[in-house]
């Protein structure tokens, strides 16, 4: 049986285009707004949803996602609530893949086995855990694969050809190529360098390759979409969300439309780039 992630990448490939992967932080700026946003993302044009698990100390994230996590935590977000949101989302959408992205400590403290059971039951499809390199596969990667959840690994510009096989070995679902050396939302990805890197990774794997960190605008998303199976946009959506909040970081009527409008423009940009249809 195909997973939701496989099915979605295949569908996009059949349409001759890259998938748009959108990142928002769970619980930002509050539970209800975030849940409404989660539900609205597929219709706005998101093909795959990355749902950020807030953490106090996100060492790979730039200011936008750091602040989003702190807003969510201040509003009372927990990993249990994040799983509950996915569960509610699944009641109305059984096809859009949902990938949880974050750091290991909240999962470790929740309990790996309990987390995998609950995540699977909630309808989570995959995990991106920034601080679990292949050297720590026994922690969560292997148990997740055994539980039927994709463990999506990050490959980076510092991952050379010698290391790449180890990075890809237990990767499932897709490969997340980090297009810059740096933190989320800061530098702008160079489409040419990204194209070369994606080609390099594809020599080692049949999995789709999505590209993120440093994709900010519909134009840059389109440029990346020409060379990748997926384009991940996160900080730019968070920035759009933040710009609509009131002085006490509360959602306003403009919050939801601001994010879904940008998702729509990103989706149009990504869909406007024709790629060679893959089998």
């Amino acid at each position: 049986m195909s997973t939701r992630i496989e099915t979605r990448f295949k569908a996009c490939a059949t349409e001759g285009r890259a998938a748009l992967v959108t990142f928002v932080t769970a619980g930002d700026p509050d539970f209800d707004t975030s849940l409404a946003l989660l539900k609205a993302l597929p219709a706005a044009g998101a093909d795959i949803i990355e749902f950020g698990v807030p953490f106090t100390d996100p060492m790979a994230d730039g200011p936008a996602i750091q602040a989003a996590g702190l807003r969510a935590l201040a509003a009372g977000q927990t990993l249990a609530k994040t799983l509950a949101m996915v569960k509610t989302f699944r009641e109305g959408d059984n096809t859009t893949p949902v990938v949880l992205m974050g750091y290991y400590n909240p999962v470790y403290v929740y309990g790996v086995e309990r987390f995998l059971n609950d995540a699977k039951a909630a309808g989570v499809d995959g995990l991106v855990v920034v601080d679990l390199p292949p050297e720590e596969d026994e922690e969560l990667c292997l148990p997740a694969l055994a539980a039927g959840l994709d463990f999506i690994r990050l490959a980076t510009p510092t991952t050379d050809d010698k290391r790449l096989p180890a990075v890809l070995k237990h990767t499932a679902g897709f490969v997340y190529y980090v297009s810059i050396t740096g933190i989320t939302g800061m530098a702008q990805a160079d489409p040419t360098a990204v194209g070369t890197a994606v080609t390099r990774i594809k020599r080692h794997t049949a999995l789709p390759v999505a590209v993120g960190f440093g994709v900010k605008t519909p134009e840059s998303a389109a440029a990346i979409a020409a060379n990748a199976d997926g384009v991940v946009v996160g900080s730019a959506l968070i920035d759009a969300l933040r710009a609509t909040l009131d002085s006490e970081n509360r959602a306003t009527p403009a919050t939801l439309p601001a994010v879904t409008d940008l998702v729509g423009r990103l989706a149009d940009a990504v869909r406007g780039v024709r790629r060679q249809a893959a089998e």
Partner: protein, 410 residues
Amino acid sequence: MNAPNSFRTGPDDNGHFGLFGGRFVAETLMPLILDLETAYNEAKADPAYKAEMDAGLKHYVGRPSPLYYAERLTEHLRAGAAPGMGAKIYFKREELNHTGSHKVNNVLGQILLARRMGKKRIIAETGAGQHGVATATLCARYGLECVVYMGAVDVARQAPNVFRMKMLGASVVPVQSGSKTLKDAMNEALRDWVTNVSDTFYCIGTVAGPHPYPAMVRDFQSIIGTETREQMLEMEGRLPDSLIACIGGGSNAMGLFHPFLDDPSVRIFGVEAAGHGIPSGQHAASLTGGRPGVLHGNRTYLLMDGDGQIAEAHSISAGLDYPGIGPEHSWLHDTGRATYISATDDEALAAFQLVAKLEGIIPALEPAHALAKVADLAPTLPEDHLMVVNLSGRGDKDIPQVADILGTSL
């Protein structure tokens, strides 16, 4: 847990001390820490590197640091003890090192390693500023660019060290994120390293972070215990009976403890910062008040909430104000080889003043925590008990803060 045959063989090849340690970092950093491990292992085996270290420790740092019999403190504590009681107290004088603390031992080792690796830009995190000052100092000495990340709260309470670092040519970046203290400075340093992978060496100041840092920093700091061992044998003809040191991340303590871990007669005490008291929740005692978790590249005891969110530590001492602890300490705690206790802000402040008056030595607020527990423990031990406390830093940097607390305007 069964006691291992040796407490000195860790970590394993993956950087684990039992459950603790490891390499919990983003993929971008993995190749860098693997390179660092290789470079460190090569350097360790190279007599030229050792010769350069030895020369630097002797002529630039000023080692060996004295082991000093604190006679008046000993007598003072015996006066309040039962007859025949009151341990003989020695200070390991790390505050006499160049830059005023033990931090320079580690920084020298890492900077010489950075030079071997051809790295031109050094980054560091700092809490009290002692590691930042030591890093800025060695960068000045070797003509390297130096960027120090320091929580904005710490920048305010450790102004003398901020000025020192700037005098030495370093850029000091006040970190405004999170709790604006040491943990956030470390986050920001890691973000810098992820961004500047090709030319930058991250000089971590304590026995924490991803493997190989906890073992490497321990190795560099073990000079403290190695010297103490020789000096005590020379002065008293035998090993000390107990060792005691303060713990934030735990590098001064690990440096003193490690050479004695396989001497079962030597009791080992680590002193965490209890802040306003453990029950208040406002403290920095990760072992006493925390649970195992994963932060800053390693698994260790952490202060956190039920959702795995890291708590803000509190201590009067910026150098101890960290919600984690080096992974090897967590392992020594779980195996029972070392005993971890804690001292409050008030106890440390009292010890700070007591030692200044009795010994003419103004300790930093960090070792003042260890001194506070010396004052508790020594009277319960016999007069022939030899106790070594690591006087890991001098208190000059704390003068403005202590004056403020005591209501004196400078």
